[in-house]
Chain length 128, copies 2
DNA sequence: GCGCTGTATAAGCATTGACTTATAAAGGAG
DNA sequence: CTCCTTTATAAGTCAATGCTTATACAGCGC
């Protein structure tokens, strides 16, 4: 999940936002935009762009002496999927718990604590 | 976008995955799980859990001498939304470019270069 | 009470990472 | 060819961060 590593920086995130909004932007344009919000030098932005490139989040093509940057949606989509899946499992888990609660609410009796509970479930282990 | 800052660490991401899968897990359980994959001490995991807590990605409740951790879906959903929006703007931009290309392909004439082109469009300038 | 278990914090160290200034390299204009 | 523009890289500094060991603290069992 390299994308999430790369996304851990506000300047880089902002650069991506500008690329999403503006489509294709030259390195110089990105430097200018970054400097509107952060006090950051041209090399600093260039280094951020390198990180983004190496993470596959953007690609650059040379046009004359300019480097035109484009958002590369693949890794972003992957990160998004990771988050969605996390949420998916989570809500699934919630639902399971809910139905468990609803179903078990009456049958609940003689429920002890599980002393080695790593997964810690709900501590709803009852011995029949 | 604090969530994405917090997500920039593989150990923390793995902890979240385990919480998503397993529901509620005690600190000790999380330490054990983390140590299956990373060579990391108990305090290290505890510090990661602190970061996750402070970022609002998890919450902990005390049960006896245990701390039971739960995934907190809010910040994750927010991060997911950020990514989705980025992708949204991006594909919107792509569509716009596409229609622009389709519509303009014939009408193209006397198109001058914008010499300060930050947005740098396509640099498809040919002088008639 | 005493000691063990589970967890967090403190302090210190090492590494990473973001920034700076200075410079190089490459393309275009004159 | 020469100069200016654009971008990237090099080298060095500094702060942030992740780790470790040592320790504190709270709850439970005896």
């Amino acid at each position: 999940m390299t994308a999430l590593d790369v996304l851990g920086d506000p300047v880089r995130r902002r650069l991506l936002e500008h690329l999403a909004l503006g489509g294709e932007i030259s390195a110089g344009g990105l430097v200018a935009l970054a400097q509107e919000e952060f006090t950051v030098s041209q090399p600093a932005v260039s280094q951020h762009l390198r990180v983004l490139r190496e993470g596959g989040l953007v690609s650059a093509r040379a046009v004359g002496r300019r480097r035109i940057y484009t958002l590369e949606p693949g890794p972003l989509a992957e990160a998004e999927r990771w988050l969605a899946e996390l949420r998916g499992f989570w809500s699934q888990r919630l639902d399971a718990l809910e139905t468990e609660l609803a179903r078990g609410r009456r049958a609940r009796r003689t429920d002890d604590d599980n002393h080695e509970a790593d997964t810690a479930e709900d501590t709803t282990r009852r011995m029949a």
